[in-house]
């Protein structure tokens, strides 16, 4: 019983986390914030 619970808990946590990371908005958010930060760095370094 204990090992079944242990297995289910591990699967639940890993599953929810992978599910979150696989959502398109995670990539969109990273891309949006990295893009904004990148633009700033480029402008500061004298780029176009």
């Amino acid at each position: 019983m204990r090992s079944l619970i242990s297995c289910l808990v591990a699967l639940w946590i890993a599953g929810i986390t992978v599910w979150f990371l696989a959502q398109p908005y995670v990539g969109q958010a990273c891309s949006r914030e990295a893009g904004a930060a990148g633009t700033v760095v480029r402008l500061l370094s004298g780029g176009d």
């Binding site: 242990s6 986390t17 990371l21 500061l44």
Partner: protein, 668 residues
């Protein structure tokens, strides 16, 4: 920064002195700082309110109010200095890593506070800073008839007023950052206090910092830490109320019950939904004392708690009653009425509050147009969403919308799948992350839980349930995330009890998600860095990012001393120095649109209110003097412009891109 640190130090000393008088002391140091500073800042907010009510909102009086914190707490200062000297970096590697991440969170938020508020900091520009600015200009707190928000309880805004009066909007914003940092410290300290004998002995030191990191990296929380909203203030006072109440429950003296009442009163003075924490602790007192068959004691303790909280918050509600005839204006209008409001306004307001979350999803599913919203993109794609996640959502809403009573069960899961439905715009701060859904249910197998943790989790559950009824915007849930975060920390640290696999899954999940969300927070701060360091001026940034910048500049420079502006589609008036009022029909009843039949009626209404200029943001009020849907106001303005009774003073209405200004010509 120095002014801010000076005020916080005074607040700590003052708060400590009050707790000494209450005999409610003796805690982990981080938590002590949270209690003391929060209490001191509460005292300061009420001092500023007092100055505002007697018409003394001048910089010298505000400085005296801040200095009076030192006058109250000067005896405590040497002890606090000794504390600082004795502070040590945590010994364990894990704790060190968590603290380093927390410091990174704080620094990133600090950078964003060194930048004046931008166009996306909506409510900051609508009323959190605009209300205090107008009070400062008048040197007193007064009724602002065009903006109902200014009748809300304003504890946080009193601190912003102090910041504006003593320095700038950056100092004002720093007070919300203070709430964020104090939440983090309180969670760290609360984790430590879980390990006290009688409250769960043997709790490792990483619980608090892990919980604090789970809270601090939530993008909604991290974003709010960089602007002058109020939700983190409510989160702090709610958290401290439950922690102080838990101290009293564990038999540490009646002073803690009074302290809990004070914190609950301060929460109720930050926002009306602070009533949830008052109801929670009063209900919990009655139930737990009655369970111990101490009926008389239950009633006495509940009365003491409730009376302290409501008594402390009452000045705000009395003020609102005097101004509007309704102490909780504009809510409960059908029962309590209120000045400058109507049944239509009340209905529109309630519909807007109820338009988010499960209600929005249910509508989209019913119309067959449901797809997960994209985040941080210009326009939403219209292609079908055939993913398994969307299928799960469609299945959950197959039978229509969830009743509010049951929606709280699915809201946390839906916030992982489609968080933009729980925010006003599909912007990055809408993200909540999966840690609460992944780790809180696991606590069932980690019982017995420490009493303080049980109290916090009960408050988080009660708050989430009640808030789901009121409105499902995820930023309104921030106070309950703060309380639930300690459960996340406790869960991840104790998963080893269930075996190696859950332990590994827990830390992997916690580490990956925290790192990802911390990266988002740091990237956002990077974008603000040039302005914070003065490479770009705030003017330049505002001009490039805020569509009403040019119109405000024009009015501030050219409108003249007798100008008054009627504003359509642009409530973010913080940087407009000319007297102005919201003229859109859903804001107030100043303009009797239901009685207007002709453009002349509209013009007469404008003149009756002394209006000289009209400002229109076509993004939120399209169709005025250009293409787009035309409501009655747009048709009136078009007709008056065609007759030469209105003329363009700034901008190009035909473009319908940036905010423009019209001038009343005086022609009959």
């Amino acid at each position: 920064m120095l002014l801010w640190l000076g005020v916080l130090t005074g607040a700590c000393a003052c708060g400590r002195q009050i707790r000494t008088w209450l005999r409610a002391t003796g805690e982990a140091r981080c938590l002590e700082v949270g209690y003391d500073a929060a209490l001191g800042l509460g005292v300061l907010a009420y001092l500023v309110l007092g100055l505002g009510l007697v018409g003394l909102l001048y910089p010298w009086a505000l400085a005296l109010a801040a200095l009076s914190l030192y006058a109250i707490g000067w005896r405590q200062i040497p002890e606090r200095v000794r504390w600082l000297r004795e502070a040590r970096w945590p010994a364990g590697r894990l704790e060190s890593l968590l603290w380093a991440a927390l410091i990174a969170c704080g620094v990133a938020a600090l950078v964003r506070n060194l930048v004046p508020p931008g166009g996306d900091e909506w409510d900051t520009l609508v009323y959190h800073l605009t209300g205090p600015k107008q009070f400062l200009q008048a040197h007193r707190i007064h009724f602002i008839e065009h903006d109902h928000h200014t009748n809300f309880p304003f504890n946080m805004e009193m601190l912003y007023l102090l910041g504006l009066g003593l320095h700038s909007d950056r100092l004002a914003k720093l007070f919300h950052l203070a709430m964020y940092l104090l939440c983090v410290l309180a969670l760290c300290g609360a984790g430590h206090s879980l390990g006290r004998p009688g409250n769960g002995a043997g709790v490792p030191g990483a619980v608090g910092p892990a919980g604090a990191l789970a809270f601090a990296t939530i993008p909604a929380v991290a974003w709010e830490a960089g602007t002058a909203y109020i939700d983190l203030g409510l989160a702090l006072y709610g958290l401290l109320t439950v922690l102080a109440w838990s101290e009293w429950r564990q038999g540490r003296g009646r002073g803690w019950l009074v302290a809990a009442g004070l914190f609950a009163g301060l929460a109720l003075g930050v926002k009306m939904t602070g009533l949830l924490v008052v109801l929670f602790v009063c209900g919990a007192t009655l139930l737990t004392e009655a369970w111990r068959r101490q009926t008389r004691g239950a009633v006495a303790s509940t009365l003491l708690l409730g009376a302290t909280a409501i008594g402390l918050a009452s000045p705000w509600y009395i003020k609102t009653y005097v101004y509007t005839g309704n102490p909780v204006f504009p809510f409960f209008y059908e029962v309590l009425g209120g000045r400058g409001w109507s049944r239509e306004h009340a209905r529109t307001y309630q519909e807007e509050q109820q338009s988010h979350g499960t209600h929005a999803i249910a509508r989209a599913v019913a119309e067959g147009t449901y797809r997960r919203m994209e985040v941080g993109v210009g326009a939403q794609s219209e292609t079908a969403d055939a993913s398994a996640s969307a299928a799960v959502v469609r299945a959950l809403f197959r039978r229509g919308d969830w009743p509010n009573a049951a929606a709280a069960l699915v809201v946390p899961l839906l916030e992982v799948i489609d968080p933009a439905r729980f925010w006003e715009q599909a912007a990055v701060p809408c993200i909540i992350g999966p840690l609460f859904v992944a780790l809180l249910p696991v606590l069932i197998w980690l019982r017995p839980l420490p009493p303080t943790l049980k109290a916090l989790l009960a408050y988080a559950g009660f708050g989430l349930f009640a808030q789901t009824h009121l409105s499902q915007l995820s930023r309104y849930q921030i106070p309950f995330f703060a309380a639930g975060a300690l459960g996340v920390g406790y869960g991840v640290v104790h998963l080893g009890r269930l075996g190696r696999a859950p332990r590994a899954a827990g830390w992997l999940s916690f580490g990956t998600v925290s790192a990802c969300l911390l990266a988002l927070h740091l990237l956002r701060a990077t974008a603000a860095l040039p302005t914070a360091l003065g490479v770009w001026t705030a003017e330049e940034v505002d001009a490039a990012t805020f569509e009403s910048h040019g119109a405000f500049e024009y009015l501030n420079a050219h409108a003249g001393p007798k100008a008054k502006v009627a504003v359509f589609g642009e409530p973010r008036l913080y940087r407009l120095d000319v007297p102005a009022e919201f003229a859109d029909r859903f804001h107030n009843t100043l303009y009797p649109y239901e009685r207007m039949r002709t453009p002349d009626d509209f013009l007469s209404a404008l003149r009756a209110r002394g209006i000289t200029h009209i400002l229109v943001n076509p993004r939120y009020h399209p169709g005025v003097m250009g293409p787009g849907p035309k409501d009655r106001v747009a048709r009136f303005i078009d007709a008056l412009a065609a007759e030469g009774r209105l003329e363009v003073a700034f901008g190009d209405p035909a473009e319908q891109r940036t905010t423009f200004v019209l001038r009343l010509t005086g022609r009959e």
